[in-house]
């Protein structure tokens, strides 16, 4: 199962290195990782998609919490969440296929952000499934370049993220 974990961390040199080093060393299966500024100056926000069972994601969260530069960690997997990814897709286009591609993009509310004699660059935003669908449809035309940001996530509603850090780990009863 895929889990979405959001972590807030100090925006300092080497912090991303600490996080990625932790994932590598503990052999966690990270699907995507995206990081950028948060609402607080000096604090970055990272969204990680982790593949594994509850026990694995608990480990990831608690190991992240041990990093001194990481201030808060949330598992938003089981909460109502807005999840988005952005992709830039450069696809081969000829005079014959250009309109078709533009129509496909339209259906997905994607935008054409660059046009050349031989290609189109499409920008799409949405949940991964939507991005995957469009990529699947464009593949037959020949994708020349693809850049995806990975998932960013935000819990719906409320007033900002909870002040409570993630709870202490729960024992998985009867699971031995």
């Amino acid at each position: 199962m895929k889990h979405t974990v959001v972590a807030l961390m100090e925006d300092k040199p080497g912090v991303l290195n600490r996080v990625s080093g932790l994932f590598r060393r503990r052999n966690y299966n990270i699907e995507s990782l995206s990081v950028g500024h948060s609402e607080t100056p000096g604090i970055s926000r990272m969204t990680v998609v982790v593949e594994g069972d509850e026990r694995v994601v608990d480990q990831v969260i608690h190991q992240l919490e041990k990093l001194i530069n990481v201030t808060q960690v949330f598992n938003v997997t089981h909460q109502p969440t807005v999840i988005r990814e952005l992709a830039l897709i450069k696809v081969k286009a000829t005079a014959g296929t250009r309109t078709e591609i533009m129509e496909l993009a339209n259906v997905f509310r994607a935008r054409i952000v660059d046009v050349s004699a031989t290609s189109l660059t499409v920008e799409i935003t949405g949940p991964e499934e939507k991005v995957n669908s469009l990529i699947g449809l464009l593949r037959p035309y020949g994708i020349e370049e693809l850049a995806r940001t990975g998932r960013v996530a935000m819990v719906r509603g409320g007033n900002g993220h909870s002040d409570e850090p993630d709870d202490a780990p729960q024992a998985t009863s009867e699971s031995k």
């Binding site: 961390m9 100090e10 080497g14 290195n17 600490r18 080093g21 932790l22 060393r25 026990r55 608990d58 480990q59 608690h62 190991q63 919490e65 041990k66 990093l67 001194i68 530069n69 990481v70 201030t71 850090p165 202490a168 780990p169 729960q170 024992a171 998985t172 009863s173 009867e174 699971s175 031995k176």
Partner: protein
Amino acid sequence: MRLTGAQMVWESLVREGVDTVFGISGGAVIHLYHALPEYPIHHVLMRHEQAAAHAADGYARATGKVGVCLATSGPGATNLVTGLATAYMDSSPVVAITGQVATPFIGTDAFQEVDITGITLPITKHNYLVTDIRELPVVIKQAFHIARTGRPGPVLIDIAKDVQAAQGEYQYPDEVHLPGHRVPRNDISSPVQQAARMLNEARRPLLIAGHGVILAGAEHALVQLVEKANVPVVTTLLGIGAIPETHPLCLGMAGMHGEAYTNLAMSEADLIVSLGCRFDDRLTGPVSQFGRQARIIHVDIDSAEINKNVVVDLALVGDLKDVLPALIPLVEERNRDEWLARIGEWREDSAKRDILGRESDDLVPQYVIRQLWYATQGNVVVVSDVGQNQMWEAQYFIHHRRRALISSGGLGTMGFALPAAIGVQFGLPHEQVWVTAGDGGFQMNIQELATVVQEKLPIKIAILNNGYLGMVRQWQQLFFEGRYSGTPLLGPDFAQVAAAYGIPGLTVREKSEVEPAIARAVHSDGPFLIDFRIVQEENVYPMVAPGAPIHTMIRRPEASEQG
């Protein structure tokens, strides 16, 4: 007050209560060494930076205070790595200070430049690279705080050379602001009640006391709990001393080389309560088979340890110093005669197989260790090395005191004992400190004999010399067709080596010489070394074969079966 960066370091260390540091000088710390004589801190010049890290670690383990080591950039810093990894694995509070090339040279592959913060990322609790003198006091304050709070661990501070030389306004912060550093302060009353209920209901309960009990200073509370609930307790290697091994409810060390009755108790228990132990594979064997009949409660200060190796039924994240006193009033006095009687039977069976019960003139290591215990009545601090010697020490020395066995558990660092003992002796100047080591490990940091002499330390050294890298040889004998590949080991005449350093020594070849030799060492004022030429192919028994369940032990062959 205006100080140089170097002065700020020492001034801050003094304010943190540091009186001893272990280190080696070099180009990138020359400013630090220049300022050192102005401060009331004793610098112990080690002969290798690895030894400096082990010494700081030994000091920390013996005293509970933060141990400090110091090294120059490049090779000085990389030499610390093994020592830091050792301290990290065993949760030892160490602050390592390294010099870095001057700020303008960082990243240019300058002379003796190495990215030590990058290198030590996975083996420190946290680390810092200081390139601005204004950050220096705050960083040092934070480093000590991080090293000693929560689950302790090593912190490295890498300070650029120009920062040490620069001048700045010095103000040492009174408190630290570290929002990302969590020390558990959650309400534990509910899981404590649940734990007490599970303990009260259990018919065959067992406690595992790990290093965490000692790190928390919760030894007395543990004894109170054990006595009130009438529940037997096993220890991990680093948990030795958490409860006196003379206590009738203490079953000694469990795990790969635990006594058979200890491991049987662990596999037959219906409730296991782990206190400050991280379920290392040397303790559990294959986790799928561990505690098959038991519900498991895990008490730890580090939430990331919960369900890491062994999936547990109840997690209790907190400081044992709080958890145990909360638990004691809730546990009921129960009669557990049946369970204790069963363990007693296993214990008698183990005693029958004990090598010390056999008539023999062979100089076996178990006898040496037991004689060392007799001669000192356990009233010394033993610093053991790694390998067979470590297991024999753990099995045959009866530890009744807290913090009186110092050993590298998690990393299993050969060469640890002698340099760690130097730190231990500085931390505990009135204790007699004994090193027990094999001939292999001892040669890995043998150069520290010079430090012992220079610092006039009365450290006693017992080498269990079998001419092999013995633990590996034992595995080769039992599991690798007896092919002794890379294990026969030529050593020097250790007594003569000691003499060359100015340390008196003896070589012991006969069983009858053991007692007088130990007596001489015990009563000597200065350092003393004894080279025990033990039976070469003696094995550590019992042994759980790698990958086998913890209750399936290879027992010592009967006397008649042994060649």
